[in-house]
């Protein structure tokens, strides 16, 4: 099963779990499985059309899925998937 690393801002929607094991063979199915298990994640990961939001990056290994096959990017049992949303903190 592939490992999905949940960023700290989204862990409150995954019962504070940092790493989840998901059985899926593409990124699309991985996200679908994730949002099925943790419905509150959905609005943070997908827009109204069901597309991955443009302020959320998904990396397979070290590579951005936008430079691979987007949502169709293949996922294997040893794949590590990182979800990295934009954050803006610095001063306050």
């Amino acid at each position: 099963m592939a490992t999905v690393i949940i960023p700290t801002p989204l862990r409150k929607f995954t019962n504070n779990t940092a790493r989840l094991n998901i059985q899926a063979d593409t990124i699309e199915k991985t996200v679908s499985e994730l949002t099925f298990n943790f419905p509150e994640l959905k609005k943070h990961l997908l827009d109204e059309k069901g597309q991955i939001r443009s302020f959320v990056n998904i990396f397979v290994g070290n590579d951005d899925i936008r430079n691979l096959q987007q949502e169709k990017t293949e996922v294997k049992a040893d794949t590590v998937i990182s979800i990295v949303p934009a954050i803006a903190g610095g001063v306050q």
Binding site: P9, N57, D64, N67, A86, I87, G89, G90
Partner: protein
Amino acid sequence: MSTHTNITFSKEELARYNRHIIIPEFGLEAQQKLKAAKVLVVGSGGLGSPVLLYLAAAGVGTIGIVDFDVVDDSNLQRQVLFGVESIGKHKVDAAKARLEALNPHINIILYNTQLTSQNALDIIKDYDVVADGTDNFPTRYLVNDAAVLLGKPNVYASIFQFEGQVSVFNYRNKEGVLGPNYRDLYPTPPPPGLVPSCAEGGVLGVLPGIIGSLQALEVIKVVTGVGEPLVGRFYIFDALNFESRTFNISRRDDNPLNGKNPTITALIDYEQFCGVKAVEKPIKEITAKELYDWQVKGETFQLIDVREPHEYDIVNIGAELIPLATVATNADKFSRDTKVVVHCKMGGRSAKAIRELEEKFGFTNLYNLKGGILGYIDEVQPELTKY
């Protein structure tokens, strides 16, 4: 970069920078480059503190600081540039005093203003490198776009709660190849309200120390040409699990600034771009003084606090506690017969709660306490604890 070949050092400077100069890969030339360099640090808070301290200590010859804020006691948990004596002073002035005490051989230029689309190009154009340590998406995109339009490298760092990000944007390497920028990484910002700010979500104080130090490191590498700057790579640090990862990022053809068909050729309205203006449907407000008048006169109203229970435990003004995330499920607890004053820490979350209740449940009797409980403490009950 500014020219460095005719840069000389006094005896005192050579003694000060000795530990740099004796590193074989660094040497006198890199130290000359640092002294010749002009670096603009946008934001002198959590990230800006370590960036400014290390750049000043390292001997960056000219450091510009942009900030419009005043030092507050809640800053001191992480903004190590400031001390108790700085409270109430302009951050740029307090920063200058501290940095001059640290290194009298450098030149510090202050911009006691907010960076805007009107002044950004004019301020940034005189610098070699920008270090972005701002705290909101509109300014992030503004700094990025200005740096790209002016052809300046932008050393980026960002933090939230336990997570930090670092990258070097818009850097042209020795072969003339340009690296990606923030819009290649994140084409558009999150809609307002979806991602909380550090003021709402908090940040572990040592995190900006770690991430800001990495940011200072990258500024020094960009200036001196020593090592491989974090270009085309995106570093993230998870302080909770002590894990760091470095991802590959690249330029994108659809980047509106410098992709195949650029559509942005000048700075835009970043508040509008980030949707800050679009959702700002006006809501009714009440000032702390007006609320106090209502209390004194015995006016009938309900007072609701939408902060988290741990914040309520620190300080409260006797309101009923209904945390923001639970407002919709507790809508029936909001009175429809009397005026309802809703407050949070500073007024942001209570505004969200009011908008949600007005949109989903048709409330028309809700008032946002301007400035939140902090404003109330300042105006009405200064003896209460601020946090």
